[in-house]
Symmetry: C2
Subunit: 506 residues, 2 copies
């Protein structure tokens, strides 16, 4: 097998990582060990599990300096951003610890025996239980928060599952140092060595999705890769859930009233959101609808000014930069798309320019629509001018679904209700007067949406309810109290919220 | 297209139904109309939706005489059973009305803006919203409770979705009369005509799964049919959830202590559960593990006696009866499987005998295991003799997952904990000292399990939480109160349970 190479996208330097791509035998062994670990983990208490999550956070913090320096070497994202991302990553583990201690995620329900209109019904109790070994694919654009120690890993462990991670090739050493921090903490809590495991290489990733012990997969990455792995997961003898958080061209609408009220701030804000993290966020606003006429012209002028002053984007890899350059070139070849501004080029090995283009609704809905509706990672802003609400709504209705839908509007804006209605149908998260590029870890977060945003619109990959992906319900009928899980015993020894005879009890 | 034929499985008489198989154009028109209906339904209040469900129940009750007579003509299940099934079907609609009024199924969550450890987070609110048009496949074995007016239809309407139903060919006129009752009630509530629609024919069913407007499918039926449709659903340009409740060979274990304590009652009870509804329940215990030695012999003797006195099974159709006869013949050709008893044959066109066979763990785990592990609809009981806990557990571990797992044991039975542990991993519902053939409609019911029991182990097709299959989460960030759905407004005008800043509030 080939040795995995660690590349510095700023300097272009390449170093052997010391890791080799995992063999198929290694994947099979990982699956088997993970199944044994999952059985052990499923037997631990909620409080033990919450303590484990806290310990994982503390262990990552203890290695913060090494982790941040290594991630900066491999991604060029900078110490400030990576410090914030590590803080988020640790917060995420601790947040899931509170979710686990709360216990509501079990959806525990107790129905006592009663004479129903259907005749006598027996005592029946239900809760969600861990699925088993979970396959996780690290993403390139968040080397901490959506990679080895990221949300999929944290939520799967919080659900009581074991995890086998396929490292992203763009940051093998970051994967290694974060994995080591996780494993050290897991061992210190008495967890089996196979609680978290790490694999390298494309073939290993495919084998992981097909491994008979793996019960579900979490993936964050591109549409083509995610779709191909989704199909592998569905073609198994026993298909398993594949939660792919894929690409998204996120619509953003500036209403005429908003354009009139605050063109300068909006133009700057749009470009700020588009260029954040060098435009390598899946929540980046991809299509920015701006009204025609003088109010919209002012937004365009402010955006042009902001993009002209952008310092350029240092991207995660030369390959991503090359795809960005290709995407921009293809876009500019579409009749009806005009260049408005190009920024400086970040002077790095993976450096790119920021680009602002403008087009109209007819072009967006025309024969080249697939070019405009393909996600393009990088600091690219596509402004779409629209003439009135009817044209805007028709255009939005024809778009693919997305992760987010953003509305920049005024109080009592007449465009509000109809746009909210499109947004809720087309996206997982609807934002008013904010930008979509921040994805907080919280109880109410929804990160996902209908395809192509995600392979399943029924779940989220961020926030408290992301645990639901790794759980399945089990009912216990007339099971004696001493044989029931603690969470379902009559006296509720864990003190968790439950439905009792249909009524929620705290 | 061919005319659909209505067959009486008792007399063998065949009548034209007056229905023709739906054309592909009709399916496409149904999908389009369903999308418009779904948009309308999503805009109605929870109280309107609950009233609709109550009205559907009342309408079915008003037509009870016609419905029961028609269903008896087409299924031969008898007036008593069908009266009970209609009662259950109506109860199910009313039960979902209480679930809708409760509002907890929305999983509404409100996070106010706050300064998190990650920096300031905006106001964020989340709830589950209806997916859109749902395709439903009626099952043959419950012509009411799992067919046109069954659980999939009721739960999808409760979730706020529209429904397009593919009628089961075994009861076209029952499908018609129940559909008419549903449609009359829907119209009386002001719902669009396309709230519930009915299609006929195999090709229409396939087209329904592939229709671009359909957002998810509920199916109850055989493994081969369900698996084929699942693959169609996953091969769409936009794959959709396919909830197939498929076949199941449900294990049941009699412990040595239980056999010793109550051999006679257990032997009779086993046969009663196996022959209930002519053995045409997906929860029928398929493999009955009975200890070797004198205690187990006594259970076998009692079961033999009970099966010998069984009056025979009149099955749902001649085709199902023929498959049963083939299954029994194939089973009896397996070396190591011995016939214990055959009952009388029900003297109907679709009549069959009840059959009791015995085998051992070695045969079950041997080269013919697939024959023993294939679900066989009908009054067939396979007793598997086991010698001790080790052999029993090894055998159970090697079985396919199932809908149910039943344990007949004594208080403090030493077999209990290990068997409970296998059961919860292998099945959706674990039963102690009861029989699995009753599936109550309740908050805590779980009807499903890992493949081959169901195509998704994450959900249930019966009970309150079956709504979750037809819902997807949407988050609203910084959305002004007047633009929010009522369920998420600050003052909680619907009075539903919500999580507010992470804490459950009733």
């Amino acid at each position: 097998m080939d040795e995995v190479v660690s590349v510095n996208p700023v300097s272009g330097e390449r170093h052997p990582s010391g890791f080799y791509e995992s063999t198929l035998d290694e994947v099979a062994a990982a699956g088997e060990a993970s199944a044994a670990a999952a059985a052990w983990l499923a037997g631990q208490s909620l409080s033990w599990r919450a303590d484990l999550l806290d310990a994982l956070a503390a262990s990552l913090e203890a290695d913060a300096e090494t982790i941040i320096a290594t991630a900066d070497e491999e991604t060029g994202l900078g110490v400030a951003r990576l410090t914030g991302e590590l803080r988020r990553t640790c917060f995420q583990f601790r947040f899931f610890a509170t979710v686990v201690r709360d216990g509501g995620f079990l959806e525990a329900s107790v129905d006592h025996a009663y004479d129903s209109p259907m005749g006598p019904l027996p005592d029946l109790r239900r809760q969600l239980e861990p699925l088993g070994p979970i396959g996780v694919f690290g993403a390139s654009n968040f080397p901490l928060a959506f990679s080895v120690p990221g949300g999929d890993t944290a939520s799967a462990l919080a659900a009581g599952c074991s995890v086998v991670i396929k490292a992203h090739p763009a940051h093998p050493l970051t994967s290694k140092v974060t994995f080591e921090a996780l494993q050290r903490a897991a061992l210190s809590c008495g967890a089996p060595e196979a609680t978290v495991q790490l694999l390298f290489g494309l073939a290993a990733g495919v084998a992981l999705v097909e491994d008979p012990h793996v019960t579900a997969v979490g993936f964050t990455g591109s549409y083509p890769a995610g779709r191909a792995l989704f199909e592998r997961a569905q073609s198994r003898a026993d298909p398993i859930p594949f939660y792919g958080e894929l690409g998204s061209v996120n619509p953003l609408v500036v209403t005429p009233l908003a354009a009139k009220a605050r063109a300068q701030a909006l133009g700057e804000g749009l470009v700020g959101s588009v260029t954040l993290g060098s435009g390598q966020f899946c929540t980046k606003p991809g299509l920015l609808f701006v009204p025609s006429g003088p109010e919209g012209d002012a937004v365009l002028a402010a955006a042009k000014d902001a993009m002209t002053h952008f310092a350029g984007a240092s991207m995660l890899s030369e390959a991503i930069r090359d795809r960005f350059d290709d995407g921009v070139a293809q876009l500019l070849s579409v009749p009806g798309v005009a260049l408005v501004a190009r920024s400086a080029n970040a002077a790095t090995a993976s450096g790119a320019e920021g680009v602002l283009v403008v087009t109209d609704v007819a072009t967006l809905r025309g024969e080249h629509r697939s070019v405009l509706e393909t996600e393009c990672f990088g600091a690219l802003a596509i402004l779409v001018r629209y003439a009135g609400e009817g044209e805007l709504l028709a255009s939005l209705e024809s778009l693919d679904p997305a992760l987010t839908f953003t509305l920049l509007a005024e109080e009592g804006d007449p465009y509000g209700p109809a746009l909210l209605d499109v947004g809720r149908r087309k996206a997982g998260r609807v934002i008013v007067n904010g930008f979509p590029t921040g994805v907080g870890v919280s109880w109410s977060m929804q990160h996902g949406g209908p395809l192509p945003a995600a392979t399943s619109s029924l779940h989220t990959s961020v926030g408290a309810t992301s645990l639901r992906r790794w759980l399945r319900p089990v009912s216990y009928q007339s099971v004696p109290d001493e044989w029931l899980p603690a969470s379902l015993r009559e006296d509720n020894p864990l003190g968790i919220p439950r439905r009792v005879d249909g009524a929620l009890v705290l």
